[in-house]
Symmetry: C2
Subunit: 549 residues, 2 copies
């Protein structure tokens, strides 16, 4: 991962000239606004605070070769990949860098690291792919004198594949593409494709309740965890490898979503499926976002949903078309067709099916019938294939946009169907006015991408001109306004990005005072010294935070 | 509910003469063995231990009319409806009767009752329908001087129905049939039909992670809870009414399955479905249990399962046929047909579909194709309809069997598909030898009734001659052996009966020492005085139990 941005140089893409012109015009970007990342040597790192005794204990736990305190290691573990993370990194601010990066190779090494850090009073930040967009991996010390990142990417094994029960026992540090390659060799797939797929890990998905682009069909990671092992400072919490149980409250569901604040996910057995023989993706147009959402509700409640279901609102449809293929012949043809059908300013939707040819054909036919009856106009396979091809590229484009002086951020929530548009309008209005009032009127786009019988997710992307010199304030103002609007209007503060540091201020509203108390009680029992990922997930009483670092 | 047995006199049924003869022959029951229940006046109750101050405080919380300490109230709240419960009640042992029964009418009354009991040091046992088969509702005092049953059946309201999101907000004390009547009036169903359906409540289902006969299709209660409110001695834990969230560990999943040990479920919003227009149930025969289970696995993993899927092993098939229609013309006809097909000693299976006519037809066709390809022989609709008609009657027959000197008990577990037969054989063998070694060789039957992609449940029913004078020892020996075998062979101690008092000894093995510690931490935070359902779910350190009562 590039220290200042997304992915690897080899995968990087930029906006084309046409798209860049659209962006500049939409947001009113100045010529030459934005700045390239600072050079690596100029990044400001906090002084290393790990004492030699602690360092030696860590080296004993994992081997000398696996404790790194060099500049690049610390910087690459200093932050996740949210918009404010990138702002800070590009400007040379790595103030949340760990004092060392420790690479554990096994569950017992993780236990040894936690024991050493408990003794030495060192905070531990579990680190998989480092793609958190909510401040989940920045190395806050909390009340401790030092902090390490516990990098889990050496633990990248497939421990067992059960072809009969369709489960795979996995180590936490395996990355998405490698996991799918290994499963594909056994004729299987997990079907979990978050935006971060190429650079995120199994452990990270489980720790953050991740959802992927095909989770409407394959299920969220919560649905895919058969059993899990969580190594904590006081021992290992292991759940039984059974499909279902009524043996009390679900400890599996306590570990899933625990974001490193209770312990380190050191193994997970996930439910897998046969590798699909065919994938069929197609695009639709609806005359409005409300019409599309209603069509998706009917389809979902009929049990007829595809594996991937995505519906953009009017603004996302307009702007993504403008950015993707402004003025091409294909576009002009498509637009003419939709104009004839009365959907010139409509909403773009995708459906995707994966499975055996029979299965895909049968499901497509049923869903298509329902969608057409609800007003959908088919756009064929081409736009959907194009989306599929580029579906992991948005974070690369974000880097390019930041360099042009654009703010681009996403946030997501979920609600019941009956409340979906109330929530949608409230968040959109709030984001718009929060940014307009600062003199940077935004473009606020939204899509529905995860369907449930009782409701759906809403995923917002908003763009604006960066407020030069006050970029972080600008972001904070928008984020705070949106978070408040979400909770005041019946949404959840996060549908799949998790809590981290950024959403922690809303957790008390989300789960209530008593809910926080219960989470604290679990944490105190598993992590009595509070070394695990301080400042994340559970809002800490401010007096426990040890000043600035 | 009859104080000594199941249901109401008006619904009671007995074995016919033919079936009774079969039972006597199979188990070697003596003529005139067994005894009727003792008369109500002769039941032995513990002395009332609730002091007048506490009684007055409770009367203030719910009104004088809603605090009952009469003999019948105490006896009807003294036990659930497990085999050992019935043995004890029939013999006049109501030693776990509460000191009073308090009927709360609202969430705020529940809070007031908990406050009064916290102050007075009185244990609180939440009580819905009282159908627990694991000792979940017996009024143990724990370390307290007295215990009350908190009866929730006055709280039987449907608070809200959301026709768009397909959810219903419910009070906890509503009974199954009344719930379905109210939902049907709105064109909806919950589709949750545990064996206890007629006498169990929404709150009980949620508190025990209940599964019903149609849960393969409709989902377990865990899957149906959109949000829940749990009133605890330290406040109300409420989860947000959203279809999904990534905001940390799931507190919903902490409350679901909490069995009254953390608090009282005072409201739940459940996911409902349109009332099915048609129901189609049909029966199949497989040549063996293994063949049937394999067919069900293939069907489930193809995403083609029906709503109800049940598969009996050879012994359950043989014995239920023998008890149901020994020697009838219909039987002789059916048997001839199966003999021709080579499945004379095979296994009976049911599939049931509910929904729109189109939906049912399409799903039936697909599942039937897969089942036939796996060796299933269709037996048509009649045997399945007969099962459906009598599906809530087994507990009535149990009362009759107890009166004839027969032991009849059930237990259930779940495992992955790859381990299912290992677990099946181990439990069957263990139960057989545990009872045979006491001179009461049993009949051990089993069925699969809940399918998951990764595995299935196993539901065992075992019958034997009661060991006169040592009935409870006999039961304990069988239960202990089976529980140990389940956990030693990869199962869970309970798939849907919950933990209660009977499974508490296995909880440490089920969830680990650290898992127990986490549950205790949550309990201590929510119920610092330990008044909530002591002795259930979480094994208590023995020294905390205050002697015999």
């Amino acid at each position: 991962m590039r220290w200042w941005g997304w992915g690897e140089d080899s995968g990087a893409i930029q906006l084309g000239d046409g798209a860049a012109a659209v962006l500049h015009a939409e947001l009113g970007l100045g010529e030459g606004a934005g700045a390239p990342p600072i050079s690596l040597e100029d990044v400001r790192l906090p002084e290393r605070a790990l004492d030699e005794g602690a360092r030696r204990a860590l080296a004993q736990a994992v081997g000398e070769d696996h404790v790194h305190a060099d500049r690049l290691s610390r910087i690459t573990h200093a932050a996740g990949r949210s918009y404010p993370d990138l702002l800070r990194l590009r400007a040379g601010d790595a103030s949340h860098a760990p004092d060392a990066v420790v690479h554990a190779g096994s569950e017992s090494e993780v236990a040894a690291v936690l024991a050493a850090c408990s003794r030495a009073g060192v905070a531990v930040i579990p680190f998989g792919g480092g793609t958190s967009v909510v401040g989940g991996v920045e190395a806050r010390r909390g009340s401790h004198g030092a902090a390490i990142s516990l990098d889990l990417t050496r633990m990248d094994g497939v421990l067992d594949v059960d072809q009969v029960s369709l489960t795979a026992a996995l180590e936490p540090g395996i990355l998405g593409p490698e996991l799918e390659r290994r499963l594909a060799a056994a004729g299987l797939t997990l079907g979990h494709f978050p935006q971060s797929f190429e650079f995120s890990t199994v452990g990270g998905w489980v720790a953050t309740r991740s959802a992927g682009q095909a989770s409407t069909g394959y299920g969220r990671i919560d649905d895919l965890v058969e059993s899990v092992s969580c190594t904590t400072p006081t021992g290992i919490l292991r759940t039984r490898d059974v499909p279902a149980t009524a043996a009390g409250p679900s400890l599996r569901e306590l570990v899933v979503g625990s974001e490193g604040a209770l312990g380190v996910i050191t193994a997970a057995t996930l439910r897998v499926r046969p590798l699909p023989e065919v994938r069929h993706y197609e695009a639709w147009s609806f005359s409005s976002f409300e019409e599309g959402a209603e069509a998706y509700r009917v389809m979902e409640q009929a049990g007829a949903s595809p594996d991937v279901a995505r519906l953009s609102d009017e603004e996302e449809t307009r702007l993504s078309k403008a950015l993707a293929y402004s003025g091409s012949a294909a576009e002009r043809l498509g637009e003419s067709y939709l104009r004839i059908r009365g959907q010139r300013d409509g909403c773009l939707a995708f459906t995707g099916y994966e499975g055996t040819p029979d299965d895909v054909a049968r499901r497509r036919k049923r869903a298509a019938g329902l969608l057409r009856a609800s007003g959908a106009v088919s756009l064929g396979q081409w736009p959907a294939r194009s989306w599929l091809k580029g579906r992991f590229s948005a974070p690369y484009l974000r880097d390019d946009m930041l360099g042009r002086g654009a703010m681009i951020e996403t946030l997501e929530t979920a609600s019941t169907w009956s409340n979906l548009h109330v929530l949608y309008r409230a968040v959109k209005k709030t984001l718009t006015s929060a940014l307009a009032s600062r003199g940077t009127p935004p473009r606020v786009m939204c899509h529905v991408s995860h369907l449930y019988r009782s409701g759906a997710s809403l995923y917002f992307t908003f763009l604006a001109r960066q407020e030069a010199g006050a970029e972080l304030d600008q972001w904070r103002a928008a984020k705070r306004a949106a978070g408040d609007a979400i909770l005041a209007n019946g949404g959840t503060i996060t549908h799949h990005h998790a809590v981290g540091a950024d959403h922690a201020p809303w957790m008390t509203h989300e789960v209530g005072e008593l809910g926080i108390e219960v989470l604290r009680a679990a944490k105190e029992r598993l992590d009595p010294k509070g070394i695990m990922n301080p400042g994340k997930l559970i809002p800490e009483p401010p007096q426990l935070e040890a000043g600035q670092h």
